[in-house]
Amino acid sequence: MLTDWRAAAARFEAEVAKAVVGQERAIRLVTIAVFARGHVMLEGDVGVGKTTLLRAVARALGGAYERVEGTVDMMPTDLIYNTYLGPDGRPRVDPGPVLARAEDLSVFFFNEINRARPQVHALLLRLMAERSVQAFGRTYTFPNLQVFADRNRVEREETFELPAAARDRFLMEIGLEAPRDAAVRRSLVFDPRFHDTDALVGAVAGGVLDHARIGGIAAAIQHAVRAEPSIEAYVVALWDALVRPAEAGIRLPGLDTATLVQGGASPRGVAFLVRAARVRAWLEGRDWLVPEDVRAVFTEVMAHRVFLEPVHELQRGAIVPALCRAAFETVPAP
């Protein structure tokens, strides 16, 4: 069964790649997130295809898809309820974007999440952690829900940084950049196929995966992929190196690694790391973990969970990936 699903995952990746070219790594990571049942934050410049990627993923995944745009004046109730005046002039309260498709909701896409206020982040936190919300006097559950959010890293004005707890609940933070390959760049700009996003996403075959069954498959993958004691020791050593880089012998130019990291890298984060690595091993056709599986997902899963000393926080975009790279260059495997 897992073999069939691996073929389906390959089809899923191929379908998404039809709409989004030159982003093989991002597509692979999103696929891993789908099979690890984790929420994903996309970060990148404007117009690099974040929304297109997520729409293609939602279409290939099947199930209902909802999308909201974060704004400064958005309140949690705006997500749950839709309030308006009916044609008879009387106020109406209908289910809002989150509840509209109720249990069938498989992809909830929160655009520009850092524009929304902390109250909205809190609601999202519950939605992500418990996959349920309270509304109309009862609890709505979303068993297949996967939250995708995106964040524009250029603008900083009128934005609210996500609290550490909310960031920790995202499985991955995937940085999306415009492709570097010249041929891909040319075709992105000149090929009219890429100008009409609706047609592009429409060309993706819908429902390649049965979204209702992914939960069961994800659990099966976690049980099927073995981790030997040496890989367990390796992951724990990496974790130590990330939290206490100086003790692991990591030196970074121009930085004092003894005082660099303030905290973070929670046990939940490392558990997420192993979950994602197992999915990667399964996608590669193995039923045991190797260090490369951990390395393939490490930066995306762990980087946003590391909190630096405030003086270095502004440069975290450069420091944390360098720290992750240094950890892999320092920790011996096996």
């Binding site: 045991w288 260090p291 490369e292 011996p332």
Partner: protein, 321 residues
């Protein structure tokens, strides 16, 4: 009744204001300057016989009422005064004297007048301001330092006697003492030796020239370690051999080399390209042994003897690189 009581202080206030407005300009006008400044005198120790380039000292002494002070901002600035005269320095000395205040300026002029005959020139005067600050206001008094005269003289006669050799018009050069180069040579030698020592220390710090370390031979060290351990349990020995190979690769590359990095490693270290197939089999076996949990299968597919042979070949390649 209640309305009339505040009227009285208001009237007093108005009268006071009026008096203040009338009094204020009186306090500021220097109308009584003559009475406040008692005397101004310019003295010079030798106001004659001045040659081109000579410094001329002059002293200005002002006697004023005791509460007056010189306003320093009104002092003349050192610099050109006329086309032939520069003011070089100004020093001020204020002191109270019996019932008055004495302000003494020491002016140093320099004359650049190339005189052809002895003549008297006028040194321009300048204004100064004295001020007395009191609670009621500021009283200023203007002082005009008068023009005084200076007698300049030529250095030589206008038409000197004819000489055969024009050089005879010049006075002979003064003679300089002989300089002993000994101490300087010794200091140069000492500093040179110090610089050499510093360069040596820098070269040691930077690993330049003779201090450059020869690249280590990690594979040779790994091979030695592998041969040293004999009589260990076979699985243990196999595990140790794989680890020795891993450490050799890590040390050669300066980072941890995983199985997927083999291509990049060979690209960086061309000397080992001939061992690509052996290294690929090693990584496969290592993966199986450490992460696949199938050490016996790995040993069967790639036995210890092959590991040792590969390590020997790698050490040989390393030596010739």
């Amino acid at each position: 009744m209640g309305a009339r009581v505040p009227a009285l202080p208001l009237a007093g206030l108005l009268a006071g204001l009026l008096a203040g407005v009338l009094a204020a300009p009186l306090a500021l006008t220097p109308g009584t300057a003559a009475a406040q400044v008692r005397s101004v005198e310019v003295r010079s120790p030798r106001p004659f016989g001045i040659f081109l380039g000579d410094l001329v000292e002059a002293q200005v002494e002002i006697l004023a009422d005791p509460d007056f002070r010189l306003q320093r901002a009104t002092l003349p600035q050192p610099g050109p005064v006329t086309y032939w005269l520069d003011l070089r320095a100004v020093a001020v000395d204020e002191a109270p004297v019996a019932g008055a205040r004495r302000v003494r300026l020491r002016l140093t002029y320099q004359s650049f007048y190339a005189a052809l005959d002895a003549r008297t020139l006028e040194v321009p005067g300048f204004p100064l301001t004295l001020a007395s600050e009191a609670a009621t206001g500021l009283t200023t008094a203007a002082v005009q330092v008068p023009v005084w005269s200076l007698g300049v003289s030529p250095l030589r006669e206008v038409q000197p006697q004819r000489r055969e050799d024009p050089a005879e018009y010049l006075r002979p050069d003064g003679s300089g003492g002989r300089i002993d180069p000994g101490p300087d040579v010794a200091a140069a030698a000492g500093l040179g030796a110090l610089a050499g020592l510093a360069a040596l220390a820098l070269a040691h710090d930077r690993a330049w020239g003779p201090f450059r370390q020869r690249p280590g031979r990690p594979f040779a060290a790994a091979l030695r370690a592998l041969r040293r351990q004999t009589g260990a349990e076979p699985d243990q020995a196999y595990r140790a051999a794989l680890l020795a190979l891993h450490r050799g690769l890590d040390e050669t590359d300066g980072r941890r080399v995983l199985a997927d990095d083999l291509g990049a490693f060979l690209a960086r270290h061309g000397a080992f390209r001939g061992q690509a197939a052996g290294l690929a089999r090693f990584f496969e076996a290592s993966r199986l042994a450490f992460f696949g949990g199938r050490l016996p299968a790995a040993r069967a597919a790639w036995p210890l003897s092959e590991a040792e042979a590969l390590l020997a070949r790698l050490a040989a390649a390393e030596r010739s690189a």
